[in-house]
């Protein structure tokens, strides 16, 4: 039985060109980029080239990119950094949404423990935040608003430009977690009113353990790791050199293929839905009807339990997901679908399929057929 991987929103295989780009930086060019000697200088240049590649992909200059250990660290830094830097000036309030990634939500919860207050904005049934709610939530003591670009579970794209404009007018920082959107959506911070933006390598064919935070020029923030001058003192610690090199290579490839990938993924999405329609499988499409990430397809099969469906899919060779899993691999109820106010039978039966470059029409169709069979079997058992 062939296995079909449809969980690219969780992680992606590393592109072979990325691996090839990384390999020399384990042994041949092993130097510490902070060293004065030739071993170090060589690597320093490579890192700064990588920084430039990532910066260009976002429409900014290299000095604005802080490499981190991944999206989670970038999200943590984006919130802790400004929050602690402005606390003394009485800025003790943040605004975010109920559907953020846990990297943002749990950072906010910790800030609450440390004396900050946080407003968690609701979303509508499509998973969208109302920009008017953002405007209303901002207070004189608000330091930062964090609203994700595209949701990892349901794919809904937020009105980030509008929210960014509001934040700019009101003089508060705006952070967006663009981990899922980067690579499939056009992101240009030269025109997008955003102060901080998170991206990650392993969602776009790069290695795990590396990400970046875009930091606009006049953002005042504290570092959260100390002990070195790396990343212009914004993030201490010897650089993950092979990771950063690989990240840049992955960005290069993703940018070149972005438009083509979008079209392919939209085609896969239509294909899966058409298979289920042809076989008379009832499903509910979750997310926004137009503003959605092309690679994320979130559907519910009412009457079928998510966990049971995912286990059956795995036994049938299909890797899918329900959104965010915890470390043990067991599922928590989706906070995103709950926040969207969907009925329990929709929340309890939702599955996410997410596409990647290696998927083909044949294997997506095959996966849709296997899904249909399993859903029919489970519905018959009830």
């Amino acid at each position: 039985m062939t296995t079909i991987y449809l969980d690219h929103a969780a992680t992606t295989p590393v592109h072979p060109d990325v691996v090839a780009a990384m390999v020399p930086y384990f042994q041949e060019h092993f130097g510490n980029p902070s060293s004065i000697h030739g071993f170090g200088r060589k690597v320093r240049l490579a890192i700064e080239d990588a920084r430039e590649t990532v910066a260009r992909a976002l429409g900014t200059e290299p000095s604005r990119i802080v490499f981190t250990s991944g999206g989670t660290e970038a999200d943590n830094l984006a919130l802790f950094g400004p929050a602690f830097a402005h606390r003394g000036a009485g800025k003790t309030h943040l605004v975010t949404t109920e559907i953020e990634h846990h990297a943002v939500l749990e950072t906010c919860q910790h800030l609450e423990r440390l004396g900050f207050s946080v407003t968690y904005l609701p979303v509508d049934r499509t998973g969208r935040v109302n920009p008017d709610d953002v405007a209303r939530a901002i207070r004189p003591e608000t330091v930062l608003v964090s609203v994700m670009y595209g949701n990892n579970e349901v794919g809904t794209i937020q009105p980030v430009a509008e929210i960014g404009r509001i934040c700019r007018e009101r003089g508060v920082y705006f952070h967006t977690d663009a981990v899922q959107a980067f690579g499939v959506e056009p992101i240009d911070v030269a025109t997008l009113p955003v102060d901080l933006l998170t991206i990650s390598a392993h969602k776009i064919g790069g290695p795990k353990g590396v990400g970046a935070l875009y930091v606009r020029r006049d953002v005042v923030m504290f570092p959260h790791l100390f002990g070195g001058a790396q990343e212009r003192k914004r993030r201490a610690g010897t650089e993950n050199v092979p990771g950063i090199i690989g990240f840049a290579k992955a960005v290069e490839i993703a940018m070149a293929e972005r438009a083509a990938r979008r079209e392919r993924y939209l085609g896969f999405r239509r294909l899966m839905l058409s298979v289920w329609e042809a076989r008379g499988i009832d499903y509910v499409l979750n997310g926004h009807p137009e503003a959605f990430l092309p690679h994320v397809l979130n559907v519910s099969f009412p009457g079928v339990d998510t966990e049971t469906l995912l286990m059956n899919l795995d036994l049938a060779g299909i890797a899918a997901s329900s959104g965010s899993a915890c470390t043990s691999g067991s599922l928590e109820r989706s906070h995103v679908l709950k926040a969207m106010g969907l009925p329990p039978e929709v929340v309890g039966s939702a599955v996410r399929f997410s596409f990647g470059p290696a998927n083909t029409e044949e294997n997506v169709r095959e996966a849709a057929e296997r899904v249909a069979e399993i859903v029919q079997r489970l519905r018959r058992r009830k």
């Binding site: 339990d305 049971t308 059956n312 043990s328 067991s330």
Partner: protein, 378 residues
């Protein structure tokens, strides 16, 4: 066609060997670990290793499955566990009864939710590492349950609530082995969990201290009260009904110049009654939630042996059906500490006839000896 079996894997030696034996016997095997409990406090979470559902145990189970080349899943039953097991546990203690959470877990988690999950995966059976024997008895036309061959490990008592439908889909491959043989097999299968110690504690109770657990969760509902002797005299104060269990001797805070034991708990009067060793004995009880395994129903009194707690020896008795579906049990010899809330399992030799839950001990005297002469609340 190859039969498919889901093995409930705790990460311990018994369930790991169960999985290995099923695989060896030619089944298509799927391992599942239930995630049942996690402390609410994030500081406690990182250090939580107790019971059968910590993260380390999930990884142990996953490694065993990887080694056996079978898929493994962790399923999240935390919400249901909280409602069906932890809430029941608290409620029973507050009613002055002594619950058995592991039996509640068997009834509601393993042989209900997990079994359904197994059937949803297209499995024919759910196998667990219990030391008990399950067979189909042609003559009776029923699935029967028998004691495991290792007398020290026999777990048929905790399985005595199983229905025919559950037994039909259940396998206990360890029932015919002794524990030392199971450990030996684990070694031979090359399972690194072979030396892992047996779990003794209730998984959600840290340090075996159920009193602190209940106090933390329902502080406001617990009231102090008086301790009475069997004549109805006040002899001391108690800290709250849930902190006492029938037969308890330690921690009463009494000095009456003779050993005394809790002989009765009366939640309606917030009273604890203590007495001498002879007062802890009882010969009659009424039990409800009656489940028959070896027989379809009880229509007339039968002679069986009954076990009133997991560590008790089975004792001869007569079980008589009552009109309301409950049963009356009269032992030939007095039994120590008949405790409401505990399971009573009925045996005919090695055969489990059925099981029930003790509702109340019937005291020899007609009137209640502990009628308080003063208001019960200090």
């Amino acid at each position: 066609m190859t039969k498919k079996v889901v093995v409930a894997m705790s990460g311990g030696v018994d369930s790991s060997v169960t999985a290995a034996l099923m695989k060896q016997a030619g089944y298509e095997v799927i391992g599942i670990t239930m995630r049942l409990y996690q402390p609410d406090d994030p500081l406690e979470q990182a250090n939580y290793t107790g019971g059968c559902c910590s993260l380390d145990d999930v990884y142990d189970a996953r490694r065993v499955c990887e080694q056996l080349g079978i898929p493994h899943y962790a399923v999240n039953f935390k919400h249901e566990f909280n409602e069906k097991v932890i809430a029941y546990f608290e409620r029973e203690y507050k009613r002055g009864r002594t619950p058995n959470p592991c039996i509640a877990c068997n009834i509601y988690m393993k042989y209900d939710l997990l079994l359904q999950k197994a059937l949803d995966l297209g499995a024919d059976y759910l196998a667990t590492g219990h030391y008990a024997i399950r067979e189909y008895d042609e003559a009776r036309g029923r699935y029967v349950l028998k004691k495991g061959v290792d007398p020290r490990k026999d777990q048929s008592y905790v399985l005595s609530h199983m229905t025919q439908e559950q037994l039909k889909h259940t396998l206990f491959p360890l029932g015919r082995y002794r524990k030392d043989q199971v450990r030996q097999m684990a070694k031979e299968f090359g399972l690194r969990v072979y030396s892992k110690p047996d779990s003794q504690e209730i998984c959600f109770i840290p340090n075996n201290d159920y009193r602190s657990f209940i106090l933390k969760r329902s502080k406001d509902e617990i009231r102090e009260g008086y301790i009475y002797d069997t004549k109805g005299n006040i002899v001391g104060k108690h800290k709250g009904i849930p902190f006492y269990t029938i037969g308890q001797r330690r921690g009463l805070g009494l000095n009456l110049g003779r050993p005394v034991f809790v002989v009765d708990i009366i939640p309606e009067r917030n009273a604890i009654v203590v007495g001498g060793p002879e007062d802890v004995l009882g010969t009659e009880l009424v039990a409800d939630s009656v489940n028959w395994i070896a027989i379809p129903e009880l229509t007339e009194p039968i002679r069986v042996e009954a076990k009133i707690r997991s560590q008790a020896e089975p004792a001869p008795c007569t079980v008589t059906p009552l009109e309301d579906g409950r049963v009356h049990v009269r032992f030939d010899e007095p039994q120590r500490a008949i405790t409401p809330g505990q399971t009573i399992a009925f045996y005919d030799g090695d055969l489990v006839v059925g099981g029930a839950i003790i509702d109340k001990r019937i005291l020899p005297q007609a009137e209640n000896p502990a009628e308080p002469a003063v208001p019960a609340t200090p």
